[in-house]
Symmetry: C2
Subunit: 243 residues, 2 copies
DNA sequence: ACTATTGATTGATAAATATCAATCTTAGGA
DNA sequence: TCCTAAGATTGATATTTATCAATCAATAGT
């Protein structure tokens, strides 16, 4: 691992409050690696060997069943993922693959568990992280069960805008078919939903979204922090993690 | 709290490994209460005051948005719920109400947080609990996104049977409209799905389910531990908890 | 600049699911 | 026991969403 990466890791909520010796131990053991785009890092069903920390790039979490698959989330720097599988010592429920060239630090799960036991500050941070991960999936479930696809898209756009300081213009961070899958719809359906939103406060051209009437968009989205999450701002890493 | 309740609590995964003084402290502070049926214990959006432990009865977790609502889960003895909101010190994402007369032990969230910090065994147990809660919602999301409603029903029946030692005959633990909401469909849709399953290995009469052909049912359900969860058996409390 | 390829969009259609209204059943209370 | 009310079921219909097929647009590689 390059020495200039350590401060970035140290700033993560998961690592921020732990004791320095514990942190240094983990940094000693862990190693950094760069992966090409579209590489499968983790396959669902396998056992958790490493806690992953994404330093650069982006990683998509997917789930598969019976020939169908769906996007469960996207992880961006700097954050950790699959803490839960490490803590529980159980198989991964999701697969993970790079969307682009990505740099990732891998820390053996066994060493993470030892550190958790030794360092209570680390343990508290891990608890908060797991709690947040849990809550974020509760929200995702609420989103799927309570909103229809148009409402989910509207809420997504509003939320993305919120993250970027209420910017009225922003760029989709992923391909539309991935977004569609994440939102629980087909690409065709997303296309039509986008079209419907024209004239309801949003225009979309390619990857470029422009909010022309926030109130009308909000009327459809019905934004709710108990579904959409707290409005965490982006640009000041580290962000939230995926447990 | 009655003294004969303490051993039951002590057997919970969350409390099993903690130090005795910590446990006794929490038991000293917490208090037991009996609630009538259909009482709202927790309202979504409020802040987490107490960690709840259900000793007797059953509690339904629901979520509401914009006039719609849905059943997110049912908690049965002996288990804890809303650990995540306690740990994160954030508002509840779900409401909770008793389905029947229920006895519940309530432990102030602030005291739980103090105990977590003091007792690393407790902290480890809490991490596992949160991790399991997280994973169970990941599975729920996969279920909703990857299976259609008939498949979800089939998987549910198979899973319930699994929990009861692969019994080929069992009773629905909740009213059908609640089950429908939990599975993400309307009561009408559930009725029709049940009818469809007749002739595919299942008969349902009232609350009574009989599996006549497990293989045919499994062919529809496509049971998968990465969605349906590990086959934990019932009847030997404590069961799994809802974080 | 020009293909070739991949992703996006559109239209037509089908399937899944929800809604509404009308019974039917069942369990509890008088 | 009967009556009532709540839940379940059924049928008819509407809405939502998915699927399939055919372009269209954008992009990367030569």
């Amino acid at each position: 691992m390059r020495p200039d990466e350590k401060p970035n890791l140290r700033r993560l909520p998961l690592f921020r409050e732990m004791m320095t010796p514990t942190f240094d131990d983990l940094m000693q053991i862990g190693y950094s690696q760069v992966f090409p785009p579209h590489l499968e890092l983790i396959r669902q069903g396998e056992y958790a060997d490493f806690l992953h920390v994404i330093i650069e790039g982006s990683v998509e979490l997917r789930a598969t069943w019976n020939g169908r698959d769906t996007v469960m989330g996207v992880v961006r720097p700097v954050s950790t993922f699959i803490l839960a599988a490490c803590v529980c010592d159980e198989p991964y429920l999701m697969s993970a693959r790079t969307l682009e060239r990505s740099q990732i630090v891998m820390i053996p799960a066994a060493d993470v568990r030892v550190a958790l036991r030794r360092d209570s500050d680390f343990a508290m941070a891990a608890m908060r992280e797991l709690g947040e991960g849990y809550r974020s999936f509760v929200r995702h479930t609420k989103n799927l069960k309570l909103r229809d696809s148009l409402e989910r898209l509207a809420a997504y756009i509003l939320y993305e805008s919120n993250k970027h300081d209420d910017a009225s213009s922003l760029t989709l961070p992923v391909e539309k078919r991935h977004l569609a899958s994440y939102l629980g719809m087909t690409p065709e359906n997303l296309s039509r939903a986008i079209k419907t939103l024209h004239g309801h406060g949003v225009t979309v051209q390619g990857m470029q979204i422009t909010i022309t009437d926030r109130a009308r968009l909000a009327a459809i989205a019905g934004p709710d922090p108990l579904i959409d999450g707290p409005g965490e701002k982006v640009g000041v890493p580290p962000q939230r993690s995926v447990s």
